[in-house]
Symmetry: C2
Subunit: 166 residues, 2 copies
């Protein structure tokens, strides 16, 4: 029986990558990964509603015990920061609604955790994720591989904190 | 019977002002106003959850047909923009969940609509709101008077667009 289930989220207001890992006695095993998408033709409120509903469905299906989201790099661009705030807010809300603690990691922390290089490319992250999880092919699209990477990063952090019993 | 019910929202991640106006044959009548608050000691996700739940309760109680939110002035400060995005996202999500169209107005537009001066002070907005709505005392706190002002601003816009039948 898995003792723990980690949901990884790569938040966005058009596409949201997600990944579910279970951790039992062994290394983490990927259960599901993919992308939640909302049409760019929809008004922003409808997009947020679509993404929020789908994120709650994922949580109802897999019952994660832990969650982690990538906190995108916030540039000096205020318009980007607004959109990031909206997407982060959705993930924070959904996790709180389901009573799941949500951790946040910078892109650099995630890359460092899975590849050993904080400046790794998206391709390198995909390959490292496929290697760690023994996937027979590269996980796509990159929204989903980024979500797998943030879930793996959180698993490492929990293990280092002694949160995972031997 | 009121033909229309307008919810005004002054979004924030710690306090959210709200106001409900009904519009029948006559001038708009204030039905409720106040502040939804979340303790600053709570983690951000819990705060968003508390505010979102309360906002949905307000909508379930009053069944607004229209909603409007003040879009705060976004300065060059990226940290502020993130928080504004989170608060806006909540209001957009709640309105979409309830199928209520949500309009956005800048602080300048709101002040101009209720006082005739786009650079009016909070005190002047309170006094103009009390005058327009024939309140016997100033509506407080300013989160609530700002929400009343954005609801009044939206009522004027709907009337000018011919959305309100004579």
């Amino acid at each position: 029986m898995p003792s723990l289930c980690i949901l990884g989220i790569d938040p966005g207001t058009l596409r949201m990558g997600y990944a579910v890992l279970t951790v039992g006695d062994d290394d983490p095993a990927p259960v599901a990964w993919g992308v939640l998408a909302a049409s760019g033709r929809l008004p922003l409120g409808q997009r947020l509603y679509t993404l929020h509903t789908q994120l709650l469905e994922i949580m109802e299906r897999h019952h994660p015990t832990h969650a982690a989201a990538e906190e995108p790099f916030v540039s000096a661009n205020v318009r980007t920061a607004l959109a990031i705030g909206q997407a982060q807010g959705l993930a924070l809300l959904a996790a709180a609604q389901k009573g799941v603690p949500l951790a946040g990691y910078s892109p650099r922390q995630v890359k460092l955790a899975v590849t050993g290089n904080g400046a790794a490319t998206k391709d390198q992250v995909q390959q490292a994720v496929a290697f760690h999880l023994r996937l027979s092919s590269l996980p796509t699209p990159t929204d989903a591989s980024d979500a797998l990477a943030v879930a793996l990063c959180h698993w490492q952090a929990l293990r280092e904190e002694g949160m995972l019993l031997p």
